[in-house]
């Protein structure tokens, strides 16, 4: 029995994705951009698990994929935060628009 139709989950996920992309593109702080990216990844996870449950519950691929996305996102965030800290130590700021040594 699946009371909530699949389209609802997809709508939530699409909204999360849009908010995440908007956040990543509009934020000026590197940490803010990272938060936007995490939202995008969570949207993906909602999608994957919903598709798994509604379309092909027999195969666990969707679940596995979601687990892998979560752990890779953690590894990525770890490296990203380390880079942000290294930038912060040199510039005392995490604002992306101040990163202008390299010509754009």
């Amino acid at each position: 029995m699946l009371p909530i139709p699949l389209s609802w989950w997809l709508t939530v996920s699409a909204a999360l994705f849009s908010i995440g992309v908007f956040g990543a593109l509009s934020r000026r702080n590197a940490i803010g951009i990272l938060m936007g990216i995490e939202l995008v990844l969570n949207a993906v996870n909602v999608n994957l698990v919903a598709f798994w449950r509604y379309v092909i519950p027999a195969n666990v691929e969707g679940q596995i994929f979601a687990l892998i996305v979560i752990s890779v996102a953690a590894a990525e965030a770890a490296v990203g935060l380390a880079i942000v800290i290294a930038v912060y130590r040199r510039r005392h700021s995490a604002a992306v628009e101040e990163l202008d040594i390299l010509k754009h």
Binding site: P3, I64, L67, I70, S71, A74, A75, A77, A78, L81, A82, I85, Y88, R89
Partner: protein, 118 residues
């Protein structure tokens, strides 16, 4: 459709009612004798100093990063542990290889002084 959400509605109503009722009873029964010491946020705690919005040492983040990575890697061990009885022996070998690689990472952090507080 709607009937299935009835449960959610009833459950929300109950969970909201219980704390509200308890607070109301406490408010009606308790004696009211305020004094300045009682009015502080942490009545029997330390005096607060300064602002909550201060900068933390970046080293906290190093610890947090190492913690998060290991925390999340545990994700892979849970499904493995659940399926352990049905898995062949070499699956155990691969799990050990996985853990050895993780330990190698921890060893690296330790040798490079990421765990030393200064």
């Amino acid at each position: 459709m709607l009937q299935e959400f009835e449960f959610v509605g009833v459950l929300s109503a109950i969970t909201l009612t219980i704390p509200i009722v308890t607070l109301l009873i406490a408010w009606a029964l308790r004696p009211k004798k305020p004094n300045p010491a009682k009015q502080t946020t942490y009545e029997s705690g330390m005096e607060t100093i300064g602002d909550a919005w201060v900068q933390f040492k970046a080293q906290y983040y190093i610890y947090a990063i190492i913690y998060v990575v290991f925390d999340v890697e545990a994700i892979f061990l849970f499904p493995f542990a659940v399926a352990l009885r049905q898995l062949p022996l070499y699956a155990l070998v691969w799990a050990v290889v996985f853990i050895v690689l993780l330990v190698d990472g921890l060893l690296y952090g330790w040798r490079k002084g990421a765990l030393r507080w200064n």
